[in-house]
Symmetry: C2
């Protein structure tokens, strides 16, 4: 059996490795657009301020290692056409026949169609080259004093920290009312926004960029739709991602509205023997069961295993994700999982929330820090469906306990109130923040 | 209704506070042996080395605060007799009648019956006065150079760290083959033992003390049962605890072999209208359902609420504990929950284990540290029944995720392998240590 994989990132290479472990004699061929594979793209913001000293370290496994395990990797080849009827993929000078195909082409940054967007000094942060460019041409470049980051999602916010660390004046511009609006509710996000502002980030929310101003083709500012403008010497686009599926548009493969390949719980597309996963495909919301687009490394690596296992006839379902994510900004840490309150409302769920402000450990020990937790519970099923936590010193790793409760669909009741979380003074309180929150929900 | 509570620690004061919240017009009377209530005894080791600057901070709520909420607190009164038939408690000069009685008298340190144990310079660590004594007479006393700590449980081990911090020569002596033998298996505990040794603690395992050597009634050494002896100027006893129930021995109340008051899941004793909880009573193992003795603050605070709720006719069951605990020793942190492998074996459970040594976050970020995780799974039910984790920088808070899985009795299968724990480079890996462990168990 010959399996062709288009794309050498988390989903593609994860599936390749698992396929070879499942079925050592399968023929596994990867076509990869760039010169490397297995980029840990989540590390790119840390390249900018030198927390990652050598950007090559972001490549978690080398091509040689994959080839040693019998996987054939062809780099610098972009598949431009698939003939699904005859099971053939095409690239410039390449024509290859598959038994099973995995499409794992990932995503690219959304580029807004505004004037000046193709000017010199406009960057994004997706590839290894992007990371190096932003580091060398912005962060380490003393002639660049001021930067605009367009889009206040995870990458925009992390990049703003890295550029502050490199002594840039940072303008973080978000269209929505708050930063990270898909991930945190308004009653939690102010902690994050305050931390950014305290550390010098100029945060513009409810602000749309209408034009990137150029001077002799070089970025010299951005203009807002309210007519105001600011001077900057560089722009980073971090609005979001769109799936790399334009080569499939004229085919019969079913796509979501944003172009993501629609897959079922087996990670199968609507075309027989064609699978997809990761940032180019749909995934599933574990709580609502709905098809969603969720370009996260954690989702990609799990879908990769499901694809490989199903090709190996193990009959595994991808059960979905709850968009768990965390972020460290200066000394403030935040994590989130499940639905936000806004999302619960939009889903028409009858929900109840609780928000607790407490401390990480007992007051008698020095160094106590703040911790805030918001829980969202489905009132009818009494299951937790979302959580947001903000703290410092890794105290937010507590959220793993809530992730498991959401995953297990545990009901909030007097037995759950008694959940036996470990306690010791340097870490937590006998009645820790989760217990306080659960007992409020259980009133 | 008049409720008398004997004992003013976690269980007693927790029940008192909850009773008043449930039923504001109930008459709640507390008799407490010492002059204070609500001691956070887990903080005592941190008094020794000054991490707790003011020992009074260990009293989480003052008597005045309790009295303000309508709870009557009588201090320095030790109840010496209970007439269960006539519902009367007695102390020197006190005779008081109850409708409901809560016995929450706590525990005292086990004192071994060896020669020299009543010498000058032998201490234990249970009361606030103990903490102050060990701090002032050992830790801050420059004439004390060398100390023996007898008993390598949590308190013994934590105290050894505090005394090293105060520049003492510390000899930590444990009868069993390993330290913390009820909490960690041999294949994990060596990390902890090594950390203690590296930091200067002289660890003696498989070693029994046969005599405390005295010179003019003062401690001058300890002698081992193998005939050897070491010179020390002070001894701390941390062998374990025995319930404070000797005043009940001649009554018809049912006790466990060690003297703990036997209670059911309502925290009721065998005598009508008499409840008990905390360090003086039995509790329940959540996994095996067996009555156990588990003198932990987390257990006491949960039983306290169950007692109060049942007196308030809320019909709540105490569902048990999984002996979750954590400990920080120098830069090494450890947490555990559920059954150890040894305990699973002793219970006759058909189990499977996995032990993973990994890192806390991706290698491309500086400051990566070691993390080790052991999971114990019931092979028949495929439920996790135990976990032990060792790491640093609060990375062990991950264990909360496993506590929830044990609590929810989640089966280890391909859906659980996909559990969506949050990931970001400063905290974790896309395929984090729990995922690696679960996928090994699910092979």
């Amino acid at each position: 059996m010959k399996i062709i994989i288009i794309g050498g990132s988390a989903a593609g290479m994860g599936a390749a490795a698992k396929l070879k472990r499942n079925t050592p004699d399968a023929e596994v061929v990867v076509y990869q657009k760039s010169s490397y594979v297995s980029l840990g793209a989540c590390g790119l913001p840390y390249v900018i301020d030198g927390k990652v000293e050598n950007e090559k370290d972001l490549l978690s496994r080398s091509i040689a290692e994959f080839e040693k395990s019998g996987i054939q990797v062809f780099t610098n080849i972009e598949i431009t056409k698939v003939d699904f009827d005859n099971k053939i993929v095409y690239a410039n000078g390449v024509k290859d026949k598959y038994d099973k195909l995995i499409i794992a082409t990932g995503a690219r940054p959304i580029v807004p169609s505004i004037p000046g967007v193709d000017g010199e000094g406009v960057y994004s942060l997706t590839t290894l080259e992007d990371g190096v460019e932003v580091r060398d041409k912005i962060a380490k470049n003393n002639s660049i004093k001021s930067v605009a980051i367009i889009g206040g999602g995870f990458i925009g916010v992390e990049t703003s920290v890295s550029l502050i660390n490199m002594n840039k004046k940072v303008n973080l511009i978000e269209m929505q009312d708050t930063l990270l609006s898909k991930s945190f509710d308004q009653d939690m996000i102010h902690h994050i926004e305050d931390e950014l502002k305290i550390n010098g980030v100029q945060v513009y929310t409810s602000t749309q960029v209408s034009e990137i101003l150029l001077n002799d083709k070089k970025v010299c500012g951005v203009k807002f739709s309210n007519g105001k403008s600011i001077e900057v010497e560089a722009v980073i686009l971090s609005i979001g991602f769109q799936p790399n599926t334009s080569f499939l548009k004229e085919t019969k493969i079913k796509l979501m509205d944003n172009g993501a390949i629609l897959v079922n719980t087996k990670c199968e597309t609507n075309i027989k023997d064609v699978y997809s996963g990761g940032d180019c495909s749909s995934s599933k919301n574990y709580i609502t069961g709905k098809d969603i687009y969720s370009p996260l490394a954690t989702v990609a690596s799990k879908m990769a295993k499901v694809i490989a296992d199903n090709i190996s006839n193990k009959n595994i379902n991808y059960v979905g994700s709850i968009q768990s994510a965390m972020i460290k900004l200066f000394s403030k840490e935040s994590a989130r999982t499940g639905l936000t309150e806004l999302q619960a409302k939009a889903e028409g769920i009858d929900y109840q929330t609780v928000l607790i402000n407490d401390k990480n450990y007992p007051s008698y020990l020095k160094g106590q820090t703040d911790i805030s937790l918001k829980l969202i519970m489905n009132k009818k099923s009494r299951e937790l469906i979302g959580a947001q936590i903000i703290g410092s010193d890794n105290s937010i790793l507590r959220i793993n306990g809530i992730v498991s409760l959401i995953w297990a669909k545990t009901k909030v009741d007097s037995a759950l109130e008694q959940i036996d979380m470990p306690y010791a003074p340097p870490f937590s309180r006998t009645q820790d923040i989760l217990h306080i929150a659960l007992s409020k929900l259980n009133k």
